[in-house]
Subunit: 430 residues, 2 copies
């Protein structure tokens, strides 16, 4: 490892897995380089609130350089890693730079998976990145602007019909929040729009919403969304899409200018075809999360499939963070000469999802809760995490305080994608 | 006016002038349609703080539909007005729509003026719109990211040299805040950047900074900026620019990847060449701010030049707001059958500009103040306006409160322009 220097650990990806691993290696006798294509960590559980105009982008995005400002051994670099040279132990960036490593942690997460459906991929807006969330906010607001002056009835209906594909936690949370946003603004901000005029459709291919949860909770979510005006269509998949409509597998055609995609993700790592993979395309790892056959490379989070003795790990933040802690411990052991064979075991502490204000579902240690109590638990956990995280890591205060204290909290590089409807409303495309 | 209906007042532009006029006509016996190409009012005095990462875009942008949510006679529409048919009393939008009016108020403001220098126009980033401010924030942060890994010394220097053109209040405020941002992050967020390595140059063609203020205050600003590490170059204009450098009129070439433009604006109204204009290209108005020769059209703010008896009005928010109140009174008089000949007179209540934290200049009723006391006055006025405005109009609270109260405060449509350096850092252009 190195030439008498401290071993160099390169972590690719600063999501929950990569960030946790870097923090756990803070202070260890290694030099850590954390690399991400964005200059911020994204608090994805609240991304749908950015997309529905409740939170600012900077509320859920923490500049990584600020997070590690006081660290002596963790550095950050914004770059896109496009390849790994396992022989020479280097990662290659999109700009052609080569960065050497002694230990590599791949925490590269996942991207939207359209299962090869190019049409849908072209029309849909995902809900995985901050750019997508801001684009979706722009798009929905622009649809309302355009609809409120649209003379053509058909077009008006298209602009006011929002199709959300995928009934997992993200789709359920976004559909509920979108419906609340639409009811909030119709008749008030947009006096020309009647209250029930905007429609939200939630489409899920499997028989129930929230497939990862107990069926009872999925049925509860369906009823709760129904009460909030969301039309839920289960057991049917999206077949195709064009700029003005979505066609379902059962032949139904929904006239709409908006398709939101949360129906699937696929791992996104810089290793090529020769890397050992599972059927899910996630990387094959051994029992301490090392890439099969590569002692210097670890894979965690969405990138890694399962340890040999266990089932496929869910693509959620808790397994990513647990794996990150495991890998950090393993690296600490190795550099200090300790040899311990640790077996990674994922402990499921529970999952939760909100359906709307006052309604959520939670599975905690075998307990299934639905309704207001679950919602209070959700609020508690997320407010605790969000505020706690921001305050602990960034020590954010109010504007006045920041101004007096010299701080510049909004240090995120956020390039929003132009949106066709927003361009049209603003008169930029004629 | 109309067919027995209430007279229809169309206000084009929702800056300080248009917004004030609409609010003053709230409750009057007229139907007001406020039109802007954005769906928000922009609090421009603090825009430079968005560009320097202190404020969120939504802190300085207020969704106009929300502002007039409770109004019975003021409506908003997002559209770009591209022409006025004075014969048929209609405005034409970019999408070809025609909107009739009985009274038209042109409050269309101004845009960056590059005085025909296409090269500089292509390379520079302005500081007039929210998109520009966000792009500038992205760009500066991306320059720091790129510089911290740049092997080529020349390129590193270019990335760390920031040229601000124009020594008026905007240029002075931005240069001071940028210098503070750079000193804050160098060595801390960017351990590879030395503290004095980043340079900010402020270039002003006239002999002193802040040409609109007393010379003493301009000299103070120059010293105060100098103490903050800003290199001030007065008495020289920018001659040309290319992607890697700026050439000044005296032959100096500054290697830089950043030109910020605040050296001039020009009025931007939808009237064509046949409209009566002053040399400044601002519209010729008579003593009650009516377009010369057009009884149904008023022009206020940056769009209008001067009333016949007075000097050219400064292109600032106070004259725009005073003119707006004057026009609203005139329209109220006219629709209620009162005929009063009011002459518009601009009352200069003073102007101020910050140079940095703890330093500002102010001219108030003939009083010239510079230093800490002026800064306290600036803080007081702006915190009062910003917080007061937001609270009075939008009743904004904290996140938790908004979540419980169902509100969605961030309802702005903001499409940021992609920035070349930010694209490069994120690996999107190879």
């Amino acid at each position: 490892m190195g030439d008498g220097e401290r071993p160099r650990v390169v972590i690719v990806g600063a999501g929950f897995g990569g960030l946790t691993c870097a923090r756990r290696l803070d202070g260890a006798p290694v030099d850590v380089l954390l690399i991400d294509r964005h200059n911020y960590h994204l608090f994805t559980p609240l991304l749908y609130q950015v997309a529905t105009a409740l939170l600012n982008p900077s509320d859920v995005a923490y500049p990584l350089r600020t997070v590690f400002r006081r660290s002596r051994n963790v550095r950050f670099r914004q770059a896109e890693v496009v390849g790994v040279d396992r022989e020479r132990r280097r990662v290659r960036t999109a700009t052609g730079e080569e960065i050497p490593y002694d230990r590599l942690v791949l925490a590269t997460g996942s991207v939207d998976n359209y299962f090869g459906n190019e049409e849908v991929a072209r029309e849909a807006i995902g809900l995985k990145t901050l750019e997508q969330a801001v684009r979706l906010r722009n798009h929905v607001l622009a649809c309302l602007e355009q609809a409120s002056v649209e003379a053509d009835r058909e077009e008006r209906r298209r602009l006011l019909t929002f199709v959300v594909v995928g009934g997992g936690p993200t789709g359920v949370e976004y559909a509920g929040a979108l419906s609340e946003l639409l009811r909030l603004v119709a008749g008030r901000d947009y006096p020309d729009l009647a209250r029930g005029e905007a429609r939200v459709l939630l489409v899920e291919g499997r028989p129930h919403l929230l497939p990862g949860f107990a069926p009872r909770l999925g049925r509860y979510a369906e009823r709760a969304l129904g009460r909030r005006g969301v039309e839920v269509r289960t057991g049917v998949q999206v077949a195709s899409a064009d700029p003005g409509s979505v066609r379902l597998a059962d032949g139904t055609v929904v006239a709409s200018r908006t398709i939101v995609w949360s129906a699937g993700v696929r791992p996104d790592d810089p290793l090529g075809h020769d890397a050992p993979r599972r059927r899910s395309r996630r990387l094959e790892v051994d029992q301490d999360l090392r890439l099969a056959g590569a002692a210097a490379i670890f894979a965690i989070g969405d990138a890694a499939g399962a340890v040999p003795s266990g089932p496929e790990l869910p693509m959620l933040s808790p397994p990513a963070m647990q794996a990150a802690r495991h890998v950090a411990r393993t690296i600490r052991d190795e550099v200090s000469g300790r040899r311990r064979d640790r077996v990674f075991r994922y402990v499921d502490k529970g999952t939760m999802a909100t359906v709307g204000r006052g309604a959520a579902v939670a599975e905690l240690q075998g307990l299934h809760i639905a309704g207001f109590v679950a919602w209070l638990a959700w609020i508690f956990v997320h407010v605790y995490y969000l505020i706690g995280f921001r305050n602990r890591i960034l020590a954010l205060g109010s504007w006045g305080l920041n101004y007096v204290r010299f701080d510049r909290p909004i240090r995120i590089i956020l390039q929003a994608q132009p949106d066709p409807v927003a361009e049209r409303v603003a008169g930029r495309s004629r």
